[in-house]
């Protein structure tokens, strides 16, 4: 990601800038969702849009996720580019029927007569006791479905570029934001740009193992990489960015080079993105060259609230580094980094608001 001449911008600000610029550029872009127009403004990502573009183009809705998703589908069919916002991905479970039975299928089922260019923004929570119903990352449910696209930017640069690309895309896009990333910054161009569907990024190079991180797991993987470097292990970190369409070529090329592949997902593993990536790698014939493969993700449990067990629910730089160490040195005794050094400051400083 190019950094020259761009200012540092937060992930939340980048999302806002993306919608703002698209709304200015194209009057068909509208955005709405529960509590979009209050002082919290979806963590600042919708701040001021109503003042600037009016209540017809940026508005709050009743608590009617199912109907408002259908609304988005209908508005999209009519030629608008709706950006429907949810404060948590768990609530998308109320929208499944519209997203899967309607949005995903319209273009195909009508032989191309209609398009559904909509963006469904929803954030993933983590930590601070958000618990069973406020912590899920459900993007693999959507990645299963032909007709949908799915993207999970891990930094402010991609947040802006992916959101612009998603808004301009003529298909329904599930846009995955991680709450803890809202407070992270990156160099972001002031102008408009797109991070195109289907292109992964090699975030950091290395020869010992290919480490794929998804969403919030990208910074966690990068931290693991630093800790491992001190042990003489050099991992290549890849951010797929778009989960559907998925750029397997970049991942396979790297895995061929390093001979080991670990996917760290910010979600459950069963039938998840990490399963998909491993399955693609297995099918590709990589297996015949005897490449080691593994995946990590949420514990296969519901998410608890107590910090002592909530921590164990999520992968973190420490557990990632330990796993990689054992993959690279299967014969050596296990190793773990100092837990304090494995913490990420932007995360430990988070305590609400919710």
């Amino acid at each position: 990601m190019p950094t020259n001449g761009h200012r540092l911008l937060g992930y939340a600000g980048a999302l806002l800038e993306a919608v703002d610029q698209e709304m200015a550029r194209d009057e068909n872009v509208i955005t709405f969702g529960i509590d979009l127009d209050d002082h919290i403004a979806i963590h600042g990502t919708t701040q001021g849009l109503q003042e600037k573009y009016g209540k017809d183009r940026a508005f709050s809705t009743p608590l009617s996720e199912d109907a408002m998703t259908g609304f988005a589908v209908g508005a999209a069919m009519a030629g608008m580019r709706p950006v429907h916002v949810h404060i948590r991905q768990d609530f998308l479970l109320l929208c499944m029927n519209q997203l899967i039975n309607m949005a995903a299928k319209t273009h195909y089922m009508y032989g191309g007569q209609l398009k559904v260019p909509l963006v469904e923004r929803a954030s993933i929570g983590k930590s601070w006791g958000q618990g069973a119903q406020h912590s899920q990352a459900l993007y693999s449910l959507f990645a299963h479905i032909p007709g949908l696209k799915v993207v999970a930017p891990s930094n402010a640069y991609d947040a802006k570029g992916c959101l612009i690309a998603a808004i301009r895309d003529n298909n329904p896009v599930i846009f995955v934001e991680h709450r803890l990333l809202y407070y992270t910054e990156a160099y972001v161009p002031t102008g408009s740009f797109e991070v195109e569907p289907g292109t992964a990024r090699v975030c950091a190079e290395g020869n010992d193992l290919t480490l794929v991180g998804i969403s919030n797991m990208v910074p966690e993987c990068l931290r693991a990489r630093e800790l491992l470097a001190e042990q003489g292990i050099h991992v290549e970190v890849i951010d797929p960015i778009w989960l559907k369409p998925l750029d397997m070529a970049t991942i396979l090329m790297s895995a061929q080079k390093t001979g080991q592949l670990l996917v760290v997902d910010n979600a459950w593993t069963a039938c998840g993105m990490s399963a998909e990536i491993l399955a693609c790698a297995a099918e590709s014939g990589l297996t015949s060259s005897g490449i080691g493969m593994a995946r990590m993700g949420f514990a296969p449990t519901t998410c608890p609230t107590s910090p002592s067990i909530e921590d164990a629910f999520y992968p973190n730089p420490g557990s990632i580094a330990a796993k990689i160490y054992s993959m690279v040195h299967p014969d050596k005794p296990p190793w773990q980094p100092d837990p304090d050094r494995a913490k990420l400051t932007y995360q430990s400083s988070f305590k609400g608001p919710f």
């Binding site: 009743p62 009617s64 609304f71 209908g74 029927n97 032989g111 298909n171």
Partner: protein, 323 residues
């Protein structure tokens, strides 16, 4: 499909209504005839007996007004002027079908006539209509959307969510409930705690009207009044039309042997057949001419459908994503 504001109709109006009613009736009866041949490999939900609702309402709509309906949607498609050749080809699973053989009977679409398709999952099109209506309101050209659904659809929560939001924002949407008293084979007693649908709707601040006697002229008139209000920005209007399904829920046949209803129950509805009623308003000659025109249209559509090729295997892969 010009606007008809007067409450007494001219002979031209009758002619137009008859042509539309008769086209639908004949097309659906022909579909039922063809069906056993397995040329139509797709579930069919016939509207026979219910045509007057689509016809009476669509006659009040302009070409640039929009309609959206359900899997029981043949009548609506044809009443709004949808292309018959493409319709028949779609039923036959052919590549010249209106959905290129990808939608079938339950997903008839013709955007050149603003027929927004129809969904096979009950109620799912209702909020979609609302989204479309948002756009129509923004464009402020006086266009409206009419959204058709059955009595069963009013049991889905999304129906109430839609009433609330559509009313809150005064969207130009005409809700049309075709209440045939059945959801598949279940009567309303098994499904509704309270039989008065309109009082539920009115609770959301929406103006309502009912036509209980399956009278196309009354439907025409009340729909006309509702649409006029919509065009002047009144906010959503709701029309409930009581009706009766003459055939099976799905399939070409009658089903009085199934035990859930009797032929006697249907008798008054057949006696009140609106196709026959409006036919009587026309000169014999005019009527014969319309009939033969329709016969020709249908023959032509069948030929069109037969002649059109089946989609090639590679077409399976087309239109998954829009460019």
């Amino acid at each position: 499909m010009e606007k008809t504001r007067q409450s007494t109709l001219s002979s031209d109006d009758y002619r137009r209504l008859y042509e539309s009613l008769q086209r639908i009736r004949c097309v659906e009866e022909r579909i039922a005839e063809i069906y056993p041949s397995d040329k139509i490999k797709s579930p069919i939900h016939l509207s026979i007996g219910q045509e007057a609702i689509s016809v009476g309402i669509c006659d009040n709509l302009n070409r640039d007004d929009v309609v959206v309906g359900t899997y029981r949607g043949h009548a609506l498609y044809l009443a709004k002027g949808g292309n018959l050749n493409q319709f028949m080809a779609e039923l036959f699973g052919k590549t010249d079908g209106c959905a290129r053989g990808k939608g079938g009977s339950m997903h008839m679409i013709d955007m050149s006539h603003n027929i927004l398709g129809s969904s096979a999952v009950v109620s799912t099109h209702i909020p979609v209509a609302m989204g479309y209506a948002w756009r129509l309101k923004q464009q402020a050209k006086g266009q409206v959307i009419a959204c058709f659904f059955g009595d069963g659809a009013t049991e889905e929560g999304v129906f109430y969510e839609t009433l609330n939001f559509a009313s809150l924002h005064k969207l130009p949407i005409l809700f049309v409930c075709e209440n045939n008293g059945l959801a598949i084979h279940a009567s309303i007693e098994k499904r509704w705690s309270q039989r008065n649908l309109l009082s539920k709707v009115a609770g959301f601040g929406i103006e309502t009207a009912a036509v209980t006697g399956m009278d196309i002229l009354e439907i025409h008139h009340k729909a006309g009044a509702a649409i006029e209000k919509l065009r002047s920005g009144s906010g959503p209007q709701f029309l409930e039309c009581h009706t009766y399904r003459w055939r099976q829920h799905v399939g070409p046949n009658e089903d009085f042997d199934a035990g859930y209803r009797t032929r006697d129950e249907m008798a008054p509805w057949v006696a009140n057949d609106q196709v026959a009623r409006i036919a009587k308003k026309l000169d014999e000659g005019v009527r014969a001419q319309i009939d033969s025109q329709i016969t020709g249209e249908i023959e032509c559509a069948e030929r069109f459908a037969e002649d059109s090729p089946f989609p090639k295997t590679q077409e399976l892969w087309e239109y998954v994503y829009a460019d």
